[in-house]
């Protein structure tokens, strides 16, 4: 009986030990662009993502999909993959954190997932709707990141990285981009002890803050 108890508590402890985050080195590189979508009443309804994947991952994920064998990948040939990818993103919280007045919002299942080939790189776009539209008064922030670090997200150049669709007059966006991989890592080394590895995700975050009057 006591042994049983011991085993049980050991398993429980083990279970707890099993639940902290682990990071990996990037295997997939994504260049991200996002559009914050507003409803006519001025509320934020969701995020439209546009992610472009790196060449090697493109080769990996598109293998065998050229059904008609014409050497090109048409959007139709990629549709199943797009749906699959979008559907499985819920396990990763869509790599997206949208906060209104500092409160994380909940997303609904993604819609309108599409994939297209641009030369040697595949892109995926999808609409990530909010469960409940939220007013942009106060500040709305959007972050695109993978805390486990398996996917390395970086925003595209310039202000276009995070844009606003149908936003009310006077909304402004301020974008903070992740530093390049090497510099940030060097920084971590310099500040040895100052930064915990768990903070890497924060350090790397691609964030935009949207303020509306």
């Amino acid at each position: 009986m006591t042994r049983h108890l011991g085993l049980k508590s050991a398993l429980t402890v083990l279970g707890f030990g099993l639940s902290s985050p682990v990071i990996a080195h990037p295997h997939v590189w994504v260049t991200a662009k996002a559009e914050i979508v507003f409803a006519p009443d001025g509320k934020v309804t969701g995020v439209r993502h546009h992610w472009t994947f790196d060449e090697a991952y493109t080769a990996y994920v598109t293998q065998g999909l050229d059904k008609n064998g014409d050497g090109k990948l048409a959007p139709e040939e990629l549709q199943e993959l797009a749906d699959e990818n979008a559907a499985s993103l819920n396990e990763f919280d869509y790599f997206t954190v949208l906060k209104a007045r500092g409160k994380s919002q909940i997303f609904d299942t993604p819609r309108e997932a599409r994939m297209t080939m641009e030369k040697t790189q595949v892109s995926m776009s999808f609409l990530l709707p909010l469960k409940a539209p939220v007013a942009p008064t106060g500040a709305v922030s959007v972050e695109i990141e993978d805390p486990t670090f398996f996917v390395y997200f970086s925003l595209t150049e310039g202000q276009a990285a995070i844009s606003l669709a149908n936003a009310p007059q006077g909304c402004v966006t301020s974008i903070a981009k992740a530093k390049p991989l090497d510099t940030t890592m060097q920084q971590i080394l310099q500040d040895e002890g100052a930064i915990q590895p768990q903070d890497i995700g924060i350090e790397y975050s691609n964030r935009a803050i949207i303020a509306c009057p």
Partner: protein, 338 residues
């Protein structure tokens, strides 16, 4: 395996010792599980399978933590990026082949520096069973080669021959992953059973040195023919190399498919083997540590008579139980996150 037959040959009088052996086995598992759980609370998980990777790459990838971990991570990232760049470059310039191999080797060294169950399995097996440095190197190399061969075989069959999709490749890779975790658990069960028998035997011997030969003692007093023990040893080694190595790494799969898409499959295969050599180097270093640890423990125990022998047998039992707990918790992790 050989020990199982050993156990089933027990006479009926040995039934109590069979239960005692199972009891000792369970106790060791409990101790190891509790210790790993505590360490997991304190330092972060010891044996958690890393999270399932997104975008249809089902395999998990773990990385080291801590500041040294961050450094390893950054070096790894760089080499991985150069690996992909190297494949791209080779398309234009065949001379890039040598640098591709070097980069693959370096990537292997650093990639293996992260946590992975393979190193745990090999090290624990070495503590539990042998203390030969040569065996440590051999096992590390074998496990790394198995890993490379599995990745190459998956890509060759799925991508080259069947022209199947990434999702087919993923489901195969995931099944291989499941098989590898089962192999770790099985290996752990076999050596834990064996070591539980040894603990009983040593204890009985300590109690009464003139007692008759214990049936549950592993050390056969009539040694089996040389070939037979060599056969068991080879089977053991193969088991360890398989358990430690058959799970392919996602990075190797991506690089291989990328190389194939550029018409450079052979170069990708060569780079994968270079990676395996790098991996073997790091794993060997860790395995050598395990061997030195065991040798030190043996020296400490030496000259302490029976209690020393029991302590060593207990240490071996715990190391064996570690492999079993590792395998079970990896399986539990798969089940819990599926």
């Amino acid at each position: 395996m050989s020990l199982m037959s050993n156990a089933s040959a027990l006479p009926s009088a040995g039934r109590t010792s069979l239960w005692r052996r199972l009891g000792i086995m369970l106790a060791a598992i409990t101790v190891v599980a509790a210790a790993m759980g505590l360490i997991g609370l304190w330092l972060g998980p010891v044996s958690k399978p890393p999270p399932r990777s997104p975008f249809g790459i089902g395999l998990r990838e773990a990385a080291p933590s801590g500041n040294i971990g961050a450094w390893i991570l950054s070096v790894q990232s760089e080499y991985y990026a150069s690996l992909r760049a190297g494949v791209r470059e080779m398309k234009e310039n065949g001379a890039a082949f040598v640098s591709l191999l070097l980069v693959g080797f370096a990537y292997g060294i650093f990639h293996a520096a992260g946590p992975g169950h393979g190193k745990g399995v090999i090290s624990a097996y070495l503590v539990a069973d042998e203390k030969a440095l040569r065996k440590a190197f051999l096992l590390s190399l074998a496990a790394a080669l198995v890993q490379a061969l599995v990745a190459i075989a998956i890509v060759a069959v799925v991508s080259l021959m069947l022209r199947a999709t990434a999702s087919t490749m993923n489901s195969i890779a995931l099944n291989v992953e499941l098989a590898s975790f089962i192999a770790v658990a099985l290996l752990g069960a076999v050596i834990t059973w064996r070591k539980a028998g040894k603990v009983l035997g040593v204890m009985a011997l300590a109690r009464n040195p003139f007692a008759a030969v214990q049936e549950n003692c592993d050390h056969a007093h009539l040694p089996p023919p040389e070939e037979l023990s060599r056969l068991t040893r080879w089977r053991d080694m193969a088991g360890v190399a398989l358990a430690a190595g058959i799970r392919p790494c996602a990075g190797a799969l991506i690089v291989l498919v990328f190389a194939l898409s550029q018409g450079l499959f052979a170069a990708g295969v060569a780079a994968t083997f270079a990676m395996a050599l790098g991996t073997a180097l790091t794993t060997s270093a860790i395995a050598a540590l395990a061997v030195f640890f065991k040798a030190m423990a043996l020296r400490l125990a030496g000259g302490r008579g029976a209690s020393g022998a029991i302590a060593i047998a207990g240490l071996e039992l715990l190391a064996a139980a570690f492999v079993l707990v590792l395998g079970l918790s990896l399986l539990y992790g798969l089940w819990a996150t599926s």
